[in-house]
Symmetry: C2
Subunit: 628 residues, 2 copies
């Protein structure tokens, strides 16, 4: 081991810089203890029980409620909570999701959507896991489009109660974690009706089971059964048949009903109220993004070590060559390794922002969390797949863990917001510059403003820059940053112009936007990638150790150039690149792969994943298989 990637690491091996190193070390130590060994992942009963037990241990150790105020056992530090989550992701994703459902979504909703009375009565029990709970938002017919869920919560003045009801089978709560077995209460999202009219979606605390685990009257629960992965989580479907709860069970921070049925809210606009309530998902999306990153790091650690050691073929009379020496293998792994390191910095940055959510920056953080969740989860799925293939048949053996990572994290692209939907949300956020809530987008006004602004941000193309193909220029961080910024600004400008034309032609905003989904998606990705590049550049500037800065510079350059290569068609089309430069970028990606090859093992060691977590790090890898 030559040089540390970071000064944060204590001893060997060096570490990528990260927040809360002591907390991280403590969580890892716990996860490597015998209590966290697996019993079985193929016996679903055993696995689910084990995962519940792991949640209990974390609660007992005071690691479940760091996001909440001290009086409820925490430190009021969302970033620390995410760090715990991010670190659990090195171990087991069923545990991760169960932990997230109980302490992030269920307890988080009580804290964020409830008021003092809810906090005092329920929050402590949620944090200690004395009250296992669910976050019942999704319905069978409404996953992405939550605003149109159909479960009703009707205020009954005569008994001062809400009646929670599932009006049809498509309105059942679906895929709800903790529901099939362990949940005793749920935060149920429902359309609030009072005095004969609807006030939109609100959240209610609804008991599901008694202390002995029996389902309560009027509540019907089905088990979702086996899933691709995450089978340690007991997902279920919940139907309510005129279930009554006290009026006080409305989580009333953003909307309340008086005993006479009068509705009041501190948020005037129904649209803004809805999106404010969904704000509870921001920490969850950030957490999922970090967990996806942890999974990608785990996979790359296995695959890099393996392809470094595994030999196959060679020149006549020479020893066989490590497969990571081959260009096609470097191409498959190293740009993904570089992107993984780059997004690491962006997520550290996003975590820090979680704790400073003033109303002004809140919507910007929402957009950023949505974009990074979509980007990181898609990146994880692709990276884990590449790692599985890089390890050949050995990668397909469960003992070597890649297949489990793959199966568990696949749904990260779907839950907490489907990626395709989140990317559209990012594009809308950029178009509105966070000034409007996404729901009530007055597209026409907004588009006029943005078009003017974005156009000025697109600097004139410099004919010399579009042609330069020398290594100094291609590796210059300023070139990378300006290319990423130009790409984002140009896509934003183009999208705004297209929308303006459509609306001028009389199309409604919905159809106009729908016709540009591919453009919007390209913009959202360009936005996220610009943020990632800026974050890694900032991280490098703070780096004291020259050798670490050197390898980080190579990784950042590889991330930047591989991203430009992936988007070369569009950049050529828009004359940002000329042909020889596109070819030179491709060749420079190859050069960077070859340069980084000797430091690849050192880079994955900087992730600091101990061999004792999860099913281990595939250390038993002995060879790659064909198939007899």
């Amino acid at each position: 081991v030559t040089a540390p990637v970071s000064a944060h690491g204590r001893g060997s091996p060096p570490r990528l810089p990260g927040d809360h190193p002591e907390l991280r070390a403590r969580v890892l130590e716990l996860l490597c203890s015998p209590e966290f060994e697996y019993v079985s992942i193929h016996d679903i009963e055993v696995y689910r029980a084990r995962v519940l037990e792991w949640c209990r241990i974390f609660a007992r150790e005071g690691l479940s409620g760091l996001a909440f105020p001290r009086e409820f056992g925490g430190e009021h530090d969302s970033a620390k909570h995410v760090t715990v989550f991010e670190t659990i992701a090195f171990h087991d994703h069923s545990f991760l999701v169960k932990f997230g459902v109980q302490f992030g979504l269920f307890a988080g909703a009580i804290f964020q959507l409830g008021t003092r009375r809810h906090h005092e009565r329920w929050l402590h029990a949620a944090v200690t896991l004395d009250l296992p709970g669910c976050f019942a938002m999704t319905e069978t017919a409404h996953g992405s489009n939550v605003r149109d869920i159909e479960t009703t919560a009707t205020y009954l003045r005569e008994s001062d109660e809400f009646e929670i009801h599932t009006p049809n089978s498509d309105a059942r709560k679906d895929y709800i974690g903790n529901a099939a077995l362990h949940g005793r209460m749920a935060v149920v999202f429902a359309q609030l009706y009072t005095q004969g009219s609807s006030q939109g979606v609100h959240a209610f605390l609804v008991p599901l089971r008694d202390e002995s685990g029996r389902t309560l009257p009027g509540v019907q629960i089905e088990d979702c059964g086996w899933k691709e992965g995450l089978n340690g989580v007991d997902n279920g479907r919940i139907l309510f048949d005129h279930v009554r709860v006290p009026r006080e069970n409305l989580l009333n921070r953003f909307g309340d009903v008086a005993s006479d049925g009068t509705y009041t809210s501190p948020v005037a606009s129904a649209g803004r109220r809805f999106f404010t309530m969904l704000g509870t998902l921001v920490a969850g999306r950030t957490a999922i993004a970090t967990a996806a990153l942890s999974a990608a790091k785990s996979a790359l650690t296995v695959a890099t070590r393996y392809t470094h050691a595994r030999r196959q073929f060679g020149a006549d009379g020479q020893p066989e060559r490590p497969v990571l020496d081959y260009l096609s293998m470097q191409r498959a792994l190293l740009p993904r390794l570089a992107a993984t390191c780059a997004v690491h910095f962006a997520l550290q940055d996003l975590k820090r922002r979680l704790n400073q959510s003033d109303p002004v920056s809140a919507q910007e953080i929402e957009v950023r969390a949505a974009g990074l969740k979509a980007w990181a989860s898609a990146h994880a799925v692709e990276t884990i797949q590449a790692c599985r293939e890089a390890c050949g048949g050995q990668g397909y053996l469960e003992a070597n863990r890649l297949s489990i990572l793959r199966a568990d994290t696949d749904v990260f692209t779907t839950f907490e917001g489907a990626n395709a939907v989140l990317l559209q949300l990012v594009a809308r956020g950029l178009l509105t510059e966070y000034r409007e809530e996404f729901g009530d987008l007055r597209l026409w006004d907004v588009v006029r403003i943005v078009t003017g602004r974005a156009a000025t941000a697109i600097t004139e193309l410099n004919p010399i820059a579009t042609r330069r193909t020398d290594a100094d220029h291609l590796r210059d961080p300023d070139f990378h940053l300006s290319a990423f910024r130009w790409r984002e600004a140009r896509l934003l400008d183009g999208l705004a112009r297209r929308l303006r034309r459509s609306i001028q032609d009389g199309q409604n905003a919905f159809d106009a936007f729908a016709a540009c989904q591919d453009h919007a998606q390209a913009l959202a990705n360009a936005h996220v990638e610009r943020i990632i590049l800026e974050s890694v550049r900032e991280g490098i500037e703070q780096q004291q150790n020259p050798s670490a800065a050197d390898v980080l510079n190579q990784l950042a350059a590889l991330f930047a150039l591989a991203t430009l290569e992936k988007n070369a068609a569009w950049l050529l089309e828009k004359n940002y690149l000329e042909s020889p430069k596109a070819a030179a970028i491709r060749e420079q990606v190859n050069t960077l792969c070859r340069e980084l090859r000797p430091r690849a093992v050192e880079v994955v060691e900087s992730f600091g994943i101990p061999g004792g977590v999860g099913l281990g790090l595939g250390l038993g890898l002995g060879g790659s298989g064909g198939w007899g």
Copy 2:
């Protein structure tokens, strides 16, 4: 249902044209019978026993040996055998792989590498499954590089026997299907030693277990355990400790040892002999390609039906819209649907060629099978992933089958030749124009010839064609074909020139080729895609029904344009396209997606997959999930 895609289909729904419709129908009927229902895929003992039973039923029904001559229960028709395999892939992939190991690899090796005495003694028992067997080629340390396997088979003149031996633990046979439980004999690939010298890799019949299933002396077998998927297949590791077999157990078609130890072979060159023996894999690679295609068809059937029915979001005051109406969903599914239909024709064509393998075309077919296996398996992995994501949380439920397809087929990119290695093999085949065996590539001579030839194949660019952006031109099959041919020829020419330069500069052939792997991979893909496009065009020309020809034309155009879009950067770089044309191609892909949208369900119905196979076709899909 408006118009049939093919006249082959009897009744409704219409079918894509395919060989052996009666055989296919018979196999599907059998697969839908109660004997093929699942008991469990989570109890590995139960699943493995069930899969063995399914193999027995197929043997009993005379469906296991169609590739072999009539005297051994077959029809000497490899294409029919592949059709059975392709159809099984609609049901269960563990069954598929076990079937392939027993009847394709084990029996196939006896037939192709053995001679009359082996056929008479063993082939019938292999085909009836009275003799369950293994194909023991891969070793722990040698998967792709089979030529360097280390298991030895030493001729002992004193006893007229071969001694099979595993010299070190990395030389154990690894990942061998049928080995952990059921195999009683194996075709073992080993380095043949006689009279003190090595004659290279040969295959030997080696008994593993007695009739009661007990492992024989000197044979040690381990179970590979749980895998990502295919857990109905009992993969194992085999070690041999000086195990003796009679001299007659050498499969001696391509090399024999006389009782005095003299080695003889009808194939003079050791390299050519080795690749001739590997020729047994051609039918296997073809079969894997067709199975990957079947899996992609299954996934697209589920996802297309679901996204056609599933509604989410909509314009204000309008009903929610089917999610397949959205451009981003069309973009995710429809180009993959088009590619699936296109490769269908290429694989039908490849199947037909299997039966006419004269020595001249044998190497061309080998290259084609390698390329199509790599292309189709990568396509299947990507397509199934896209389908899983398109179905959201519902796609993640095991009951809806996509996750099983995903887990089972993931290893298709690895077994029967890792894709990255196969693509390099394709590129070598093109460079040598099939005139030399790949092993003894005299690169310098070959490259000189190819360079001259390929250069003349690249027609001068027509400045009008590079600029035309009208729909007539963009949809013109001649434009597509000429673009695909130009791309392949240009990549071949470029690769040959690069290699020539490197060799002139004194680099050895191995290093010269290794430095161009990305280029070689691009060439191999271009070659396969050209073959696919030509096949689908031929299929359309034979199409009698105008409505069917119409939809096939749209699908072929979408495949062609989406492929050009994916490679637009390179085409722009080489000035084959100009910017406005690249933009027009992108827009035309969108247009074709919108046009094909209303016929998408009809297209997946043309695949003719009955709902009763496998775990069903996800017909229970009721809604897409988020995650509570």
